[in-house]
């Protein structure tokens, strides 16, 4: 007796997309989700829940969307030389909730470009990094990109980005309104010879898919949408539920894949039923055909490592985006309190230009690629208040509001090269409240990232000054240099703040160096399909979610035959 055709572990953009595809193909699925449900009524007619407000206390300060770091700590160190760890706490936490990180992402959803899938062929190797071509190309993925854009509802403008890859059709809807200061920074970027464009965004610019248009409330990055104008991933989950073949089980922490006696196939999962506290009972679900692993690129390797599944490469080649923040302080308000956090991007630092060739040559690197650059403002007065530090100066600092009301930021999501030493493994002594070893990050950027960042800073500072900023400066995450000073002063902390986590179960054609096949099946368990960004071969410099959803769409389509 089995419970369903497929069990899907994790309900984020990857798991939700797999659920939509498999149920459409007639499969019955159970989505097992560690976090709680604040997204969608799990009874027909599956209406969106109304749990989200414009509330910094609940969303940012009080972990409404989980995970609570008291229950689920993680640890971080830069290298083995740091000992077991440098810190314990929040490390790259994405929400643990029905919908995963899609719920509170501000949903910039660009596609990768053709070159991104064939970096080794296009640009060549770099010492100290394991750069490889992906086993699939852009053309293989294009139909799945289109399907993911239609599912989430991506608003964008075909042709606006001169560097974009080809596309088979228009975006599902036009872009939303521009943030006013983005028009100013985009114009300055253009004067500097760059090519800014309206960000493709998974937010309704018009009513779409029975969800309303965004009203630019300003609480986008880091918040659930009060009116569900963000489509990722509520749209995919709702469609899966409406087939009648999908069940979502929240508060269910998968601790183990159940294997057949030969250890070649997964027959189900065991999970802790977190609706019971203390002593959550262990329950089991059985699947007749497949298990889809979509726990995110941090938790997927953690689960595999606990069981010794997947081989030596599991957890390795962890990549983020090496984030370079160029901050401009303007003499006036920049209006970050309204809008979708970011409305414009430019890709120029991803392109093979004479300038970047010169930078690479000077640094002794074969090439340098930066990353997509987001033009954005801030809207979080409590976070701002904690940054100024206590004392008599506080009210004046808040009124002056240099790091919120007057701050416009270029965030470069810098390409992070895959290195074997950068990894997620199991912390030798820190455990979660249920007794499982915590995930531990060991990460330091490659010199390539530092060179790209050092180039980007002055370029972007000059643009912000031209746009009217009085002061411009640049910082990075993770911070470089003396950690003691940074730990106290840096509001982003010492661990990488990037929430773009990739590459911990890479796809490839060689089982010795990859974890999953080109169809995203584990080499050693052929009915386990990995549907999150852990399968990325390289990080590129683009936001990962549309690509991981397109990959999930493709893998689930292949699985369903």
């Amino acid at each position: 007796m089995t419970d369903c055709d497929a069990i899907i572990i994790g309900s984020g953009p990857g798991g939700a997309t797999a659920a939509e595809v498999l149920t459409a193909a007639g499969w019955s699925v159970i989505v097992v989700e560690k976090g709680r449900n604040h997204l969608i009524d799990l009874q027909a007619p599956f209406e969106p829940l109304r749990h989200f407000a414009n509330d910094e206390i609940a969303a940012v300060r009080r972990h409404l969307l989980g995970p609570d770091p008291l229950l689920e700590p993680r640890s971080y160190r830069r290298s083995e030389a740091d000992g077991d760890r440098l810190m314990v706490g929040e490390v790259n936490n994405l929400p643990s909730t029905v919908g995963g990180g899609g719920v509170h992402a501000d949903a910039k959803l660009p596609r990768f470009r053709e070159e991104d899938f064939a970096l080794l062929s296009a640009r060549g190797p770099i010492d100290g990094a394991r750069i490889e071509d992906w086993p699939i190309g852009y053309d293989d993925l294009e139909p799945h990109y289109a399907a993911a854009e239609a599912s989430f509802g991506v608003a964008g403008e075909a042709g606006a980005n001169p560097f974009a890859a080809w596309r088979s059709g228009p975006y599902p809807m036009r872009p939303g309104d521009d943030m006013p200061t983005a028009l100013v920074s985009a114009a300055a970027a253009q004067r500097a010879g760059l090519h800014p464009y309206r960000a493709p965004t998974g937010v309704n610019s018009v009513a779409y898919d029975d969800r309303p248009a965004c009203v630019d409330c300003g609480y986008c990055s880091g918040y659930g949408c009060a009116i569900h104008a963000k489509g990722d991933p509520i749209a995919a989950l709702a469609r899966a539920l409406r087939t009648g073949r999908c069940r979502i089980v929240p508060e269910a922490y998968v601790t183990e894949l159940v294997l057949d006696p030969a250890g070649r196939r997964a027959t189900g999962v065991r999970y802790l039923d977190l609706t019971v506290c203390p002593d959550p009972p262990v329950r089991e679900l059985r699947a007749s055909r497949a298990v889809v692993l979509a726990a995110g690129a941090f938790e997927t390797p953690r689960l595999l490592l606990r069981q010794g599944i997947g081989g030596d490469a599991v957890g390795r080649y962890l990549t983020y985006h090496y984030q370079t923040f160029t901050v401009g302080w303007f003499p006036h308000s920049v209006g970050g309190e309204r809008g979708r956090s970011v409305t414009h991007l430019h890709d120029d630092l991803m392109i093979d230009t004479p300038d970047l060739r010169r930078v690479a040559a000077a640094a002794g690197l074969a090439w340098v690629r930066g990353g997509v650059v987001e033009h954005g403002g801030a809207n979080a007065p409590v976070e701002e208040a904690t940054t100024y530090g206590p004392g008599a100066h506080h009210p004046a600092s808040m009124r002056d509001s240099a790091i919120r009301r007057r701050m416009w930021v270029f965030t470069m999501q810098g390409e992070d090269l895959p290195q074997a030493a950068n990894r997620i493994d199991l912390d030798p002594s820190v455990r979660d409240v249920w007794g499982m070893p915590a995930g531990r990050v060991t990460y330091a950027p490659h010199r390539h990232e530092l060179v790209a960042s050092a180039y980007a800073g002055p370029v972007h500072e000059a643009i912000l000054l031209d746009a009217g900023a009085e002061v411009a400066f640049t910082s990075t995450s993770p911070p470089q240099g003396d950690l003691g000073a940074h730990a106290a002063a840096n509001p982003l902390g010492i661990a990488p703040a990037s929430r773009h986590v990739m590459g911990t179960a890479r796809m490839g054609i060689d089982p010795a160096t990859s974890v999953v096949t080109p169809e995203q099946r584990l080499w050693d368990l052929d009915n386990v399909v990995v549907c999150d960004s852990s399968v990325f071969v390289t990080s590129t410099g683009y936001n990962p979610t549309l690509t991981l959803a397109a990959l999930s769409h493709r893998a689930a389509t292949l699985l369903a035959g």
Binding site: R50, A53, N54, V382, P390, R405, V433
Partner: protein, 139 residues
Amino acid sequence: MTFGFDPAEREAIAATLDAAVPGSVEWGAVEYVERLLGAFDHEPPRIWAAPGTWAGDGPAWLDPGPWERHAWRLRIDAWRSVYARIARGADDDADRRVAFEHACESSYGDPAYGGNREGAAWVAVGFPEPLFPPARSDP
């Protein structure tokens, strides 16, 4: 009975909160801390305000799950000890950091949590009212 400081405790705690963020006590920082430390005096516990009237009728506070309750009980127990030390004048830097963060939350977070009385702190710094505020229920 819901949680509250006695007058002597209140005086010491107010002084610490106001030293960290001047003006915070006038905006309701002590009430914010009392409500936080007394979150479990209510059912559901007052951790997360539910969406406001714009979302239609509904409970004023979201219901935390059993493990979330566990985590919040631990956290609040630890903070009760912090404020007991502050009230006795036996606080250290870490305690004052907690008070500072709560002073920031109370002043610049939503009035639903007991601070930022009538949005006065937001007015003072030119922060606009949210379009979709959480429910602002009576204590």
